[in-house]
């Protein structure tokens, strides 16, 4: 029986292992230490690693993210927690200008090995300010990497890769996924002795021949449910491709799947304008136009700020029914 742990526990294991592996890894963020993490991702780490390695920051994102960037230039490996990725916007200059461009503007003399992680999702009735999904915004900036694990296995394997990466990695999680369990092998079950998932490699989460659902983060879970319905009720076999990272992007995996199924729908909880699906559908059109039997469709969150009222907000986000209905229009 494979080991089942939550996405939250998987992240914590990954962080803990990296803290043990490299003494330069330090976790900084609001409530990460004594409070045990606003979402309990870092629970127990302060008790285990102490004040030097796990540091509570005041509510001062521009300040502490900037400190992380500066410290990383001198060899510290900071893992910064944003309580919500929505708060990245108050640290935007540090994250967009300083982290992303110092390497380029120094002609390659500097690198910024920082991880900024936290939940980037809507759907939890916290209103528009706390529901931003900025993966497309940060992926727009060359020099940055954007990683979006959708399950516990990848959460652990990708956070370890992110910490070891020598470029800035913006690691976007989901509060909705934190409590979901998934199969995560323990280290003694693995030949390599640890779980590493490389950044830049997508994963086929479900094989299918009729349609490709391309998604990242929580939308992968939504797509898997839709694929189940499509198979059971409509005899349509959808392949579900989990991008796992937005930048770098596994273009080969996308094209390989589309060439197999000849139909694609990009599904994301992001907003539509210049969303991740806009980039991908353009690439599919350019590179696999002759393989397509139908237009590439995009399913996103509604193009409005997040609605507070719980039953209405639910309608703003992609759900399996919507994916099934749209799939039936092209299959």
């Amino acid at each position: 029986m494979p080991r089942e742990i939550t996405y939250r526990e998987a992240l914590r294991e990954g962080l803990d292992e990296e803290l043990a592996r490299d003494e330069n890894v330090v976790i900084i963020g609001e409530e990460v230490a004594e409070y045990n993490g606003a979402y309990k991702v870092t629970e127990g780490l302060w008790k285990k690693w102490g004040d030097k390695r796990i540091i509570d920051a005041p509510i001062s994102e521009a300040g502490f993210i900037g400190i992380g960037i500066g410290a990383s230039m001198l060899g510290v490996r900071p893992v910064m927690e944003l309580m919500f990725y929505s708060f990245a916007y108050v640290a935007f200059d540090q994250m967009m200008n300083n982290a992303a461009t110092c390497r380029y503007m120094s002609g390659g003399l500097i690198n910024v090995p920082i991880v900024v992680r936290g939940p980037a999702n809507g759907g939890t009735n916290v209103g528009a300010t706390h529901s931003h999904t900025p993966e497309n915004i940060f992926a727009n900036m060359p020099g940055l990497k954007v990683v979006t694990p959708s399950d516990a296995h990848d959460a652990k394997g990708l956070i370890k890769s992110a910490i070891r990466d020598n470029d800035p990695v913006y690691f976007m999680e989901s509060t909705v996924l934190y409590g979901l369990t998934g199969s995560v092998p323990s280290n003694d079950e693995l030949e390599e002795g640890e779980l590493i998932v490389p950044i830049g490699k997508a994963k086929v989460k479900r094989e299918g021949a009729d349609l490709t659902l391309i998604a990242h983060g929580r939308a992968v879970v939504t797509c898997l449910a839709a694929a189940e319905t499509l198979a059971d009720k409509h005899n349509i076999h959808a392949e579900v491709l989990d991008l796992r990272s937005i930048r770098p992007l596994d273009e080969e995996a996308i094209m390989a799947s589309v060439r197999k199924t000849h139909r694609a729908i990009c599904v994301e909880e992001n907003k539509p304008f210049c969303g991740v699906g806009a980039q991908i559908s353009s690439m599919i059109m350019e590179q696999a136009f002759d393989d397509l039997d139908a237009p590439v469709l995009r399913i996103t969150s509604a193009d409005a700020p997040a609605f507070y009222s719980p039953p209405i907000e639910k309608l703003q986000l992609p759900d399996p029914d919507e994916i099934v209905a749209r799939a039936l229009t092209i299959c």
């Binding site: 330069n24 330090v26 030097k52 540091i55 920051a57 005041p58 001062s60 521009a62 300040g63 502490f64 993210i65 900037g66 400190i67 992380g68 960037i69 500066g70 410290a71 990383s72 230039m73 001198l74 060899g75 510290v76 200059d93 540090q94 200008n97 300083n98 110092c102 390497r103 380029y104 503007m105 120094s106 002609g107 390659g108 003399l109 500097i110 690198n111 090995p113 060359p142 020099g143 990497k145 890769s161 990466d165 020598n166 470029d167 490389p198 950044i199 830049g200 490699k201 990272s245 930048r247 770098p248 992007l249 596994d250 273009e251 980039q279």
Partner: protein, 361 residues
Amino acid sequence: MASKSVPQSLVPFADAPINQSLTAADKIDLLRQMVRIRRFEQVSLKHYHLGSIGGFLHLYIGQESVAVGSISLLGENDHIITAYRDHGHALSVGMNMNECMAELFGKATGCSKGKGGSMHYFAPDKNYWGGHGIVAGQTPLGAGLAFAIKYKGLKGCCLCYLGDGAVNQGAFHEALNLASLWSLPVVYIIENNGYSMGTSQARSSAFPKEGLAARAEGYNMDWDVIDGVSLYEIRAGVQKAVERAHEQCRPTLLEIDTYRHKGHSVADANAEKYRTKEEIQEYMNKHDPIEFWKSTLIDEGVLSEDDYKAIHKEAGAEADAAAEFAIKSPFPDESEIFDDVYWEVDNNTEAGRSGRHFFHG
């Protein structure tokens, strides 16, 4: 102001131990460094007007004592970071005129291979971390460098320079709070030249009568105000802050009063509108740090007019040669565009080969 008639003993701060330890050669070297910065910038200005240099050119002329005096105090575990008026700091840490001039010309031989320009000089091998274009954007980074020094258990500090126009940015206040809260060995140096671009200090900042640096009181941080015309005063004042960082791991906020002879940048068409010509002339004639140091050294008997002329001439020749070097250097190759974006790609690692990193075309 000192004049030739002022005896050495009356020059303030000459008696500070850090200044007593200076040899005649050291003092002349400090003069040479300031003159080199000025001549470098005068030559760069000439080539800017000739159209060889693009974008902005923020000149440090009039402020040379600040970088030279403060950087002269630093050791191997001390680091510096500054804003966009960064040529003086670059030359002070030992970057050479060729690489600095070639960067202005956008040439492949520039310190940033032509990718950064005037505002973005870097030399991590000399503990110099830029050269940052966004006002106050570098102030959290300075605290971060200090964080790393402390984290690694080193006895060092970070000097983080900013202009008086940066003191109202939120990032700076966040950095001050964190520097004090986390007891980081950082020394913030406000180079107060009186103007945030075209807006005077009085029109941009609310501050106590003691000065901008007194805002540090609100962050439980030590502070001081220093007259930037005198290298002796700068060295004595900054040394106290460096010692505080080294010995107590505590930050300091310093304000060094100085003046830029030129506009905010060369593109500043109003440099003589928001300031009177008389004011500019007054500073050039009576508060010029190079003239002040020169007359101090002549009074002390360690420098002659002829020595000064030789230093001036030599620095001018060096700057002209740097311009020649820049002119003759090639522009970067187009293939350079996608280098230096990602470390992993540049180093052709497995991570750098996984997935598509660039999306043009």
